[in-house]
Amino acid sequence: MELGLAHYLTLAAILFCTGILGLIISRNIVKILISIEILLNAVNINFAAFANFADLDEAKGQIFAIFIMAIAAAEIALGLAILIACYRNRHSVDIEDYTSLKG
């Protein structure tokens, strides 16, 4: 049995689930941002796979993946800026300390 779309989709699904897992489990904020990146990468694989098997003529999937990469970069930049601002105020990177807004 040779390489098909299903393999890529399963790979993307596995990666997506690990990203979600990491998102919820990790206590370090940097790790949370990392898992968001993993999520976005999983989606990229998905798009690339569909582009390859469905329409290589216009490769719309790949364009979408490129846009996603750009946005992911922007998001991680903003995330880290906010992280630094948070760190400057609370000197901690642990998500458990950022629970003052509740109720």
Partner: protein
């Protein structure tokens, strides 16, 4: 493909906004700190011009620009009008609030304008990528905006939570987009609809649709993805909270209706699930709001439950339902803006946002209290205001859909009582409870902020009386979306 034609017919407000963005960004760098106030006038002017430019657009035909990635029909014009008026009032709010930003006021207006541009594009976007980009501009900029008060721990925390939650939900949405792309092979909505009309939709499609709707539910603070809203509204600066609860919510609804349109012709499974989500949103919003102490958190939960009501309109999967939802959206926007204006006035002058701080204010500032009470009662759905007519019309549309939706009607009706309880709690605090007699008298003199607040309250009452023009607008826009979803793409450029 001359873009000028597309711009003139479809995208005039977006262009004007981008122009103001560029001018402001230049000014931000050039002007020194104390002259930053000048940027306020520029951005205000830009928004007003784009507001005026909207009615130049042809309202009766559907125009698509930029390779059908952006289409402006009557519905998107209406949504853009709402978004721009929302931003107008948010900018007016920030004028007094900006003393808190010390020497970075210019950037705030800039970010607000870019976010509004995102919202405008979102309401007209017709292509999956365009939707994603517009949505992300709106979300990323709101993360930055909500974290604007660097020194304030709450604002930081709010931004952090908003970013993490937003990142996750946009990833889920993207995953849905990828499957949509996988099934249909196109990224353009009209083509997807065309593909759907000629071959039957399968479970995978509804699954993909639900994934995408999850992303929009985040934007609109619907049931599963609502828990970020209270913390962010409480932590973020007040104008940003107002921005989130009005502009970004309207933009979210604009795009949500396009996607629900996809489900119009296929299974009703989506209808029932959406109905369930809508009801859960209302009930969760109401139950949580019952014993809130902070006025901003209360407004957050109230906006969640109001979003639930609009979602009910969409869950009816028919043009009647959408017209009910659109009219409800208009009334929600006006009343919510009024309420947030009041909170800003109160917050800027007393820097407190607990309900108990509002005690007995009606006897120190009668006009402020009455206006705030009118806005709240309109949200609750009390007679003379627009909220009452909106709720009545929404329930009317639910009943028109026949007895199958009786369960929807009953639960929505019961929830109005809960919502009444917590709105009355605030009104009670203002009028009935004895305030600390040393409470300072808010200076509610004639200023831009107070005039716009009074204007909005008057609008709430006037809209409650002159109802038929706005119901017709809502019905016409619902019809436009309905045939946009079902019929073949009008013109592919």
């Amino acid at each position: 493909m001359d873009f000028l034609l597309d711009i003139k017919t479809a995208m005039l407000p977006e262009v004007i906004i981008t122009f103001t963005i560029l001018v402001c960004s230049v000014l931000c760098f050039m002007l020194k700190q104390e002259k930053q106030k000048f940027i306020y006038f520029i951005s205000l002017l830009g928004v007003i011009i784009s507001l005026i430019s909207i009615n130049l657009l042809a309202a009766n035909k559907i125009f698509t620009g930029f390779y059908n990635s952006f289409s402006s029909d009557f519905f998107s014009i209406l949504m853009r009008f709402l978004i721009l008026s929302g931003t107008l009032f948010v900018i007016v709010m920030t004028k007094d609030y900006s003393f808190k930003f010390k020497h970075r006021q210019g950037e705030f207006y800039l970010l607000i304008l870019i976010a509004t541009l995102g919202g405008l594009l979102l309401s007209g976007a017709n292509d999956l990528i365009m939707i994603f980009i517009a949505l992300e501009t709106l979300s990323l900029l709101s993360y930055a905006l909500s974290g604007f008060l660097k020194k304030d721990k709450a604002s930081n925390e709010a931004a952090l939570k908003y970013l993490i939650f937003g990142g996750a939900s946009s990833a889920v949405m993207l995953y849905g987009f990828s499957f949509l792309y996988g099934i249909t092979g196109h990224t353009n909505l009209t083509e997807i609809i065309a593909y759907l009309t000629n071959n039957s939709s399968n479970m995978m499609f509804s699954f993909a649709l639900l994934l995408t709707i999850a992303g929009f539910l985040f934007k609109v603070a619907g049931f599963p993805f609502h828990s970020w809203a209270p913390d962010v509204y409480e932590g973020a600066p007040v104008p940003v909270a107002a921005f989130l609860s009005t502009v970004s919510k309207v933009a979210g609804f604009a795009i949500l209706i396009k996607f629900i349109g996809l489900a119009f012709n296929n299974t009703e499974a989506i209808g029932i699930t959406l109905g369930l989500v809508a009801l859960l949103t209302i009930t969760v919003g109401n139950f949580m709001a019952l014993n809130q102490v902070n006025i901003k958190r209360l407004m957050a939960y109230s906006s969640i439950s109001q979003a639930g009501f609009v979602l009910i309109g969409f869950a009816l999967l028919s043009y009647m339902g959408t017209s009910g939802a659109v009219y409800y959206l208009i009334s929600y926007l006006v009343a919510n803006l009024g309420a947030w204006l009041a909170i800003t006035i109160f917050d800027t002058q007393t820097n407190k946002s607990l309900i108990s701080d509002l005690n007995g204010i009606a006897y120190r500032n009668p006009y402020f209290a009455t206006c705030f009470a009118v806005c709240l009662l309109s949200l609750a759905g009390i007679p003379v205001t627009v909220g009452f007519v909106a709720k009545f019309y929404l329930f009317h549309t639910i009943v028109q859909m026949g007895p199958a939706y009786l369960w929807l009607l009953i639960i929505a009706l019961l929830n109005t009582i809960l919502s009444l309880f917590y709105y009355l709690k605030v009104v009670k605090a203002m009028f009935v409870c004895k305030g600390a007699d040393n409470g300072s008298k808010l200076n509610f003199n004639i200023g831009v902020l107070s005039t716009s607040f009074v204007f909005l309250t008057v609008l709430v009452v006037v809209l409650g009386v002159f109802v038929s023009p706005f119901i017709n607008i809502a019905r016409y826009s619902a019809v436009v979306i309905d045939n946009a979803n079902t019929s073949a793409p009008v013109s592919v450029k």
